[in-house]
């Protein structure tokens, strides 16, 4: 194609007056997001980056891996282990239970009013975390909680005599599920609504049983959303502080409570350990969230 004379003229002979206009406009365009960027920098990005860099610096600002070595201490490793276990357990159970509930309202053939009711309640419960949630579970399954008393009185079972306590791994998971399940319901309901009834019919008319349909069609379609949502649930539980702190005080050794105590200076104050704990948490939550983002991008691409 021969070069157009017009474009040639523009590149070789720039007009003096034309240049400032567009450049100024471009600068003004960027000006529009400066307040937001400044805010994000000051109150989100810099503080986080400061900790991440700090984890690799000694008191003089030189590079060191010494702080990360602190993560290998017995009680720190234990804390990470328990945190990972609590998060994984509450994410997996929450994902399964949330999926079952969402499936029941979308494809279960239930009366129509149940779906909006469940979604509204899930919106409330997913945000009803923290200290009040801990209170609610203490009132339910604490030593004098209603369910504990009912079980003692009518079923003759004392949960506490079997070794159960709310201030434990199982108790914490059971409590976390109160916001994990609704979160799963909120995330996975749209995905379930995206399952088209024609897929089931196509599978049927090709000779497939319900099992064929679930294994070969429905589960592969839902897998990215379900896995992604589970990762989000995991990160959600891993970063939670208030519920666990209000429920167990410092008696359960999980990472967030360890870090909380570290910051408050309740225990022997070692700022280096704080940096290392923070870095470990950032790495773990970032990995699971990156997994979530990657999976949801995959889902969207397929839908388009």
């Amino acid at each position: 194609m021969p070069p157009s004379p017009q474009s040639g003229a523009e590149t070789t002979l720039p007009s003096v007056t034309a240049v400032p206009g567009p450049r100024l406009a471009i600068r003004l365009d960027w000006l529009g997001i400066v307040p937001f960027m400044l805010f994000a920098l000051l109150f989100l990005l810099l503080p986080t980056a400061f900790l991440m860099v700090g984890a690799f610096q000694d008191a003089q600002g030189h590079f060191t891996l010494a702080k990360l070595g602190l993560l290998l201490q017995g009680n720190v490793l234990d804390a990470y282990l328990i945190s990972l276990e609590v998060s994984a357990a509450s994410a997996i159970v929450g994902a399964i239970a949330g999926f079952a509930l969402a499936w029941a309202v979308v494809h279960g053939g239930l009366p129509a009013w149940i779906r909006p009711s469940l979604l509204t309640f899930s919106g409330v419960a997913a945000n009803f975390a923290g200290v009040p949630l801990a209170f609610a579970f203490l009132c339910t399954l604490g030593r004098t909680g209603l369910v504990t008393l009912l079980l003692q009185h009518y079923a003759g079972i004392d949960p506490y005599s079997t070794g159960f306590t709310l201030l434990s791994f199982h108790g914490l998971v059971l409590t976390y599920l109160y916001f994990q399940i609704p979160l799963m319901v909120l995330i996975v309901t749209p995905a379930l609504e995206g399952l088209r009834k024609e897929w089931r019919e196509a599978s049927d008319s090709l000779g497939g049983t319900a099992l064929h349909y679930w294994i070969h069609v429905a589960l592969p379609v839902l897998a990215p959303s379900v896995l992604g949502a589970s990762l989000l649930l995991f990160a959600n539980a891993f970063g939670a502080v208030a519920t666990a702190y209000a429920l167990t005080g410092s008696s359960l050794n999980i990472v967030t409570i360890l870090l909380y105590a570290q910051i408050r200076g309740d225990v022997l104050h070692d700022p280096n350990l704080g940096y290392a704990l923070a870095l470990g948490m950032i790495v773990i939550t970032s990995l699971s969230s990156a997994g979530y983002l990657w999976l949801s991008a995959r889902t969207q691409r397929r839908r388009s």
């Binding site: 529009g32 109150f43 503080p47 923290g130 609610a136 579970f137 990160a235």
Partner: protein
């Protein structure tokens, strides 16, 4: 639908209801037990007349309102600007607004304490008013995912570009357009984001506790550690506040849909 799978669905709903309603019932029942001889609202009376409750709850409401206002002022113009002038920055902004879901609050506040301590370049933790400001900023950060998503989907629904072009062709400036055309059209989206922010912030514990501010969250924790029946009454109150915020979101979005339908009627 086969009867077997419908029975399974009912079973799931029944078990779910049991798990979700029992703690609510138990908490309410517990909150009535303060007087040994009979059920009473004594716990509520004690809590509501406690000056500590009043000041902590009042402080948190004030912080929540300031957070909502700051969040709106920060997010709405930015989201509009991105939609109109800098669409290529959208992925970056979206990523930033998702970060508060990724980075735990305790990490963010730990960063603040390191970065803005009293001997730093910006000693925001130096005095109480400055710390209040820092607390509000931390809450705005927490609210970014909710507020931005809500406003963004609102903008998607109204075709902001055409509205702006129409307004500008009638001689309106950028600010007039934002205040008189876009903001009213976004009202329900902004209100939804605001109520959600309010619900998240009102009982927040981690930020307030570590910044050492006298908010509702730390107050709840303190009462929980020292009293028997008051915590359950407080939990009921907190649940009602969350429920009210979510209920208002429903009302707001239903009204928006209703008003839209009504507006369309004469043309149809």
């Amino acid at each position: 639908m086969k009867p077997a799978s419908r029975a399974g669905a009912w079973l799931a709903i029944a078990l779910g209801s049991l798990y979700f309603l029992l703690p609510l019932i138990a908490t309410f029942e517990f909150s009535l037990r303060m007087r040994r001889e009979s059920y009473s609202l004594e716990a509520y009376r004690v809590v509501l007349t406690d000056p500590g409750f009043q000041s902590a709850f009042g402080y948190s409401i004030l912080m929540a309102l300031l957070t909502v206002i700051t969040s709106i002022v920060l997010v709405v113009p930015t989201a509009c600007w991105i939609e109109l002038r800098l669409p290529r920055m959208r992925p970056v902004i979206e990523f930033i607004t998702l970060l508060p879901l990724v980075i735990p609050a305790i990490i963010i506040v730990f960063g603040y304490l390191r970065l803005y301590n009293s001997s730093s370049w910006l000693p925001l933790t130096g005095n109480e008013r400055a710390t209040d400001l820092l607390l509000i900023c931390s809450y705005v950060t927490l609210s970014l995912p909710y507020m931005y998503r809500s406003v963004h989907s609102g903008l998607r629904a109204i075709d902001v570009r055409t509205l702006t072009e129409a307004s500008e062709s009638l001689g309106a400036g950028w600010f007039t357009t934002l205040a008189h055309v876009i903001a009213p059209a976004l009202k329900s989206a902004i209100l939804s984001g605001s109520f959600l922010t309010f619900a998240v912030v009102i009982g927040e514990f981690t930020m307030a506790s570590l910044l050492n501010r006298p908010a509702f969250g730390p107050y709840l924790q303190l009462i929980g550690a020292n009293r028997a029946y008051e915590p359950s009454a407080l939990a009921v109150i907190a649940f009602l506040v969350t429920w009210a915020s979510m209920g208002l979101i429903q009302v707001v979005s239903r009204n928006a849909a209703g008003a839209g339908a009504k507006r369309r009627l004469p043309g149809a």
